[in-house]
């Protein structure tokens, strides 16, 4: 079964065409990396998956359900199956870091207060923030916010995890730890959709890859297929940062 499927999706914001006839599918339990230069529609692709943006034409299927046709409880039901790490983490700044991670558990489970705290602490420990439960987001560095956002996205162990630039702003050691965590999550059966500029990371995490340029899909396939691509931009990307 496909966890996510894009079927000829196009999207424009005013005169700016962000996605142009994009099609791909991601089998459940696989990791799909979206690559491309800044402003090429990668984040908008993720927002389509979670239903924050509707396509102008084409369809987006999540667990074989057309996300654009869902609303209310049906949409919430599908969203509960997804975790989303935003590009800027988007932590709730009126809550502590721990409460941010605990938020989905408090909203969507019947866990007791102690269980929620214990689980949230465990999730924070997974990203190396076990000592920062009571800190406010404003007190964290950019990289720490990113990790806290990842902990929140993984709070309910969702079957689909959408991750927007997970290693941006992280030091190389922490970035590698996050990569390892994502690989471990994938091996646990979670489908990953990862937007990244970090090619070495993508090589570690990804099973399938796509390169976007000006809203169009320049290449889509396995690592070997992309490494063998004749497309100059794809070659540049795949050879970037010591990759390839």
């Amino acid at each position: 079964m496909n966890a996510v499927r894009f079927d000829h999706v196009s999207k424009a914001f005013g005169a700016l065409k962000v996605l142009d006839d994009i099609s791909f599918e991601i089998p459940a339990g696989r990791a799909f990396c979206l690559l491309g230069r800044s402003g090429t529609g990668k984040s908008v692709t993720l927002r389509h998956i979670v239903g924050l943006v509707q396509p102008d034409s084409g369809k987006v299927f999540v667990e074989e359900q057309d996300i654009a046709t869902l609303a209310g409880r049906e949409l919430a039901g599908v969203r509960k199956h997804m975790g989303f790490l935003f590009q800027n983490a988007a932590l709730f700044d009126s809550m502590s870091v721990g409460d941010n991670v605990a938020f989905p558990m408090r909203r969507h489970t019947n866990m007791s207060g102690d269980e929620v705290r214990e689980r949230a602490t465990k999730k924070l420990a997974d990203v190396g923030l076990e000592n920062d439960y009571d800190k406010m987001p404003a007190d964290l560095s950019g990289g720490m916010k990113k990790r806290a956002g990842l902990a929140r996205a993984m709070a309910l162990d969702p079957p689909i995890l959408l991750v927007d630039e997970p290693s941006a702003g992280l030091d190389p050691i922490t970035a590698r730890e996050i990569d390892e965590l994502l690989v471990k999550t994938k091996l646990g059966g979670t489908t990953l959709v990862v937007v990244t500029h970090n090619i070495p990371s993508a090589r570690v995490i990804g099973d399938g890859f796509a390169v976007l340029q000006d809203g169009r899909m320049l290449a889509n396939g396995t690592l070997a297929a992309l490494d063998a691509s004749d497309e100059p931009l794809v070659q540049t990307f795949m050879r970037a940062q010591g990759g390839g």
């Binding site: 919430a76 969203r79 709730f92």
Partner: protein, 266 residues
């Protein structure tokens, strides 16, 4: 050519104003519908009631006390001419409870809480926190707007009662300084002409003020754009629009109160 341009601009402005009023009315109507549907987020509503109350209470108490003193001085100056100083407490209490208290409390809360709601929701909008709520399968409209609207509808009458009593106390302090009147006598005289039909409709009309402040501020927060500049604008417009709506709606509400309670108008 210049005339056409002015007409165009005025027309665009008027249409824009109608569009905003329509959008805010739709927003308010949606809040009513969503408020009736579970889940009810009682904890969040109570948290906001406490937050709005604790944020506004010092301002309300101080302003009420000062207004009570000023009203007492004016009432004394007027009633002294007719030798009716004994009516000062009743006149002041009547003015405060029927109109000055509710209206002033509404305007103060619009400034204190309305600005806060507009800025808070606006900041959440521009920093993608509202999107994060939606992505976490939480209805952001219900979680952010409906809870605040209900909370302010609960908090507003309570703050008005606080305003009334602090004003009456301010009036007593002013009166005691001039005439040495005891608190007990002042209190008895203040409430000698006041009936429930003076207190209840005037206090309950502030539920409408609370609704208007929270709906307008939440709407402007949700429609914020252009980063921090937009957040500042949402905050300022929340105060201006909700203050204006409070004053306009007060005219209608007073007319309605007079219709249902003819004794109040007499």
């Amino acid at each position: 050519m210049q005339q056409v341009s002015v007409v165009d601009r005025v027309g665009t402005g008027v249409l824009g104003a109608f569009e905003s009023v329509g959008a805010i009315a739709t927003f308010g109507a949606r809040a009513f519908v969503e408020a009736a549907r579970p889940p009810y987020d009682l904890r969040e509503i109570l948290r906001h009631v406490y937050q709005f109350g604790s944020r506004s209470a010092p301002l309300i108490l101080t302003a009420g006390f000062a207004i009570g003193i000023v009203l007492s001085m004016h009432t004394r100056a007027s009633l002294e001419r007719f030798g009716a100083e004994s009516l000062i407490p009743a006149g002041l209490a009547m003015a405060l409870i029927r109109e000055t208290g509710p209206l002033t409390a509404g305007l103060l809360v619009a400034g204190r809480v309305g600005a806060g709601i507009g800025a808070e929701i606006g900041a959440m909008k521009v920093s993608e926190q509202i999107d994060a709520l939606e992505a976490n399968a939480v209805d952001a409209f219900k979680y952010l707007a409906v809870t605040r609207i209900l909370a302010l509808m609960i908090a507003m009458p309570l703050l008005t009662i606080l305003m009334d009593f602090s004003g009456i106390f301010g009036g007593y302090v002013a009166e005691a300084a001039v005439s040495g009147m005891s608190w007990r006598l002042y209190f008895e005289r203040a409430f000698s002409y006041i009936t429930y039909s003076d207190i209840i409709p005037a206090t309950l009309k502030t539920i409408v003020f609370g609704f208007l402040i929270a709906v307008v501020s939440s709407y402007l927060g949700f429609t914020t754009s252009r980063g921090t500049e937009g957040v500042g604008e949402a905050s300022t417009r929340s105060v201006v629009m909700s203050s204006m709506l409070i004053i306009l709606s007060d005219v209608v509400l007073v007319k309605i109160i007079f219709f249902f309670y003819p004794a109040v108008s007499g």
